[in-house]
């Protein structure tokens, strides 16, 4: 059970890292200026949506 949870956690972390790396390359213009503008707008809109949808909460450290 625990290893299944760890696996899903690791998969989520790896997915987030890959997505972040993809956005970084997109934003620095590796795929061209038009994609860079789209990428930066998509990232900002996505970040704002997550911050709005999931106002920080949760347990103490």
């Amino acid at each position: 059970m625990n290893s299944k949870k760890d696996l899903s956690h690791f998969a989520g972390l790896a997915g987030t890292t890959l997505l972040g790396a993809f956005f970084f390359f997109l934003i620095i213009g590796v795929f061209g200026l038009r994609f860079a503008i789209t990428g930066v707008l998509a990232f900002i809109v996505g970040a704002l949506a997550i911050c709005h949808r999931f106002p920080a909460g949760g347990t103490e450290p």
């Binding site: 972040g20 970084f24 795929f31 503008i37 930066v40 900002i44 997550i50 920080a56 949760g58 450290p61």
Partner: protein, 470 residues
């Protein structure tokens, strides 16, 4: 040992301006942050925002004070250390510096008093306007200074007649080719600086288990601002990179650590080099294959131009430009990663629970300041050997003053600035250690001009509270 006045003048200016830029960077970022926080307080009436405002206002005010004092020194140094520069560039630079004082500094200074001491005197709404005016003042100030500095990087709108410079078109001088990109890059850097400072202090409180409400709100706000800002910053930075590659190729050639006119294909991205400037080669280089081509040429096998494309007497020192750029860029990547991680943790509801993330935020507290300093080192050392790019060399811009005078004033500056820095650090750490004070439930005046001059709002919090309760 023979001391070189031109080297000493440069060291002195580098020291004083490096020290100075830390404080405006914080002031620009914190002023706008305070304006946002006060707007949230006025909108929600949640006293936690007032608590956040008051806490960061004290640190902002100290930074503003040190920034003003150390900024005045710089304008004198133009004349004392770089008289030839002041003489030649004065017609273009002088009015911009004067306008910075007239349009920005007076605005900031005028409203700063109300911002600091006026909450119970003018009411919240007028006080909010004062905060906004200070924030706008910092932005106008940054705009003029960046315009002046960008003109030195990419001079335009002037004609040179012998030893004299004549302005032909003020619009071209102010809106010079690099200014439209360098200004948002700097402002965004200042906002990122403030975001990471705010988040870092909040994270520290969370780790210690104190001031939970304040800490949660500041970590949430700081990481949200930082995440949105870093995406824009990386984008603007890339556009600025392309602009500087066009106008100052040697700077960007030095920043990438390549010597040959055309690098191998595919080009690696160097993270560590030991450059040998006299022999125009690297003694040691460590990089990631293909990444240089992908990042710098946006193709898999593109070649990168090296510093040998620039004549030796016009080359900047590669080591300084390369490592300053790596520090800035490395921190930007780290900030981007933290932004993505904060979104992931927010999604999982563990933004305040993840200790590794909170510790990372604590360590990243000064990251904005370090990245901004590194960015300025890229800009200034990469422009060498020119002080006004393509027009005036730095060695020709120095005042004819004895090396002894420059050395003694440099030692003086180091001593006085050490006192400034120690005092600022001690008081800031003391404020952080004490923590945010409980915000009193006061300042409910209407904010109208009429009320601003009524005696009852010129009163203590206690009286306002008693007025409300009656």
């Amino acid at each position: 040992m023979r001391l070189d006045p031109s080297i000493l003048a440069r060291i002195q200016f580098a020291f004083t301006v490096s020290f100075h830029i830390v404080f405006p960077t914080m002031s620009i970022g914190l002023a706008s942050f305070l304006a946002v926080i006060e707007a949230l307080w006025l909108k929600t009436k949640d006293s936690i925002y007032l608590e956040i405002y008051k806490f960061w206002l004290s640190i902002f005010a100290m930074g503003f004070g040190v920034g003003v004092v150390t900024g005045i020194v710089l304008s004198f140094e133009f004349g004392l250390g770089f008289a030839r520069f002041a003489e030649i560039a004065g017609p273009a630079i002088g009015p911009m510096i004067a306008l910075e004082v007239l349009t920005a500094f007076f605005l900031e200074a005028g409203f700063l008093g109300i911002m600091m001491f006026g909450l119970h005197r003018v009411g919240p709404k007028l006080h909010f306007i004062a905060t906004c005016m200070v924030a706008v003042g910092t932005l106008i100030s940054a705009s003029w200074i960046l315009s002046a500095n960008s003109w030195m990087q990419t001079p335009a709108g002037v004609a040179i007649h012998g030893d004299h410079l004549t302005v032909l078109n003020w619009r071209d001088v102010i809106v010079n080719p690099s200014w439209p990109y360098r200004l948002p890059h700097m402002i965004s850097a200042a906002y990122l600086t403030a975001s990471f400072m705010v988040a870092g202090v909040g994270a520290w409180y969370l780790l210690r288990g104190i001031h939970q409400g304040f800490a949660r709100r500041t970590v949430a706000l700081g990481t949200a601002f930082a995440t949105v800002l870093i995406a824009g910053q990386v984008f603007i930075g890339d556009i600025l990179y392309g602009t500087m590659l066009k106008y100052q190729p040697p700077k960007m050639q030095a920043a990438e650590g390549f010597w040959e006119e055309k690098s191998q294909s595919p080009a690696p991205y160097y993270w560590f080099i030991i450059p040998d400037q006299p022999n125009q080669r690297n003694r040691l280089e460590l990089g990631m294959p293909y990444l240089g081509s992908i990042w710098l040429t946006h193709s898999l096998r593109g070649r990168v131009e090296g510093l040998k494309n620039t004549p030796r007497d016009r080359q900047p020192r590669m080591a300084m430009v390369f490592y300053a750029f790596r520090i800035m860029y490395g921190l930007a990547i780290l900030m981007f990663g933290i932004g993505v991680a904060s979104l992931w943790l927010r999604f999982r509801g563990r933004l305040f629970a993840s200790r590794w993330f909170l510790w990372t935020l604590v360590f990243m507290t000064p990251s904005g300041i370090i990245a901004t300093l590194a960015g300025w080192y890229v800009a200034e050392t990469g422009r060498q050997p020119w002080v006004i790019y393509g027009i005036l060399r730095t060695v020709d811009a120095v005042s004819p003053v004895p090396a002894r005078a420059l050395l003694s004033t440099l030692i003086g500056f180091i001593c006085v600035y050490s006192v400034f820095f120690s005092a600022f650090l001690i008081f800031t750490l003391r404020i952080i250690r004490l923590g945010p004070a409980e915000a009193p439930p006061h300042a409910e005046a209407s904010g109208s001009l009429k009320n601003a001059f009524r005696p009852q709002v010129l009163d203590s919090p206690a009286r306002v509270v008693s007025t409300q309760s009656s």
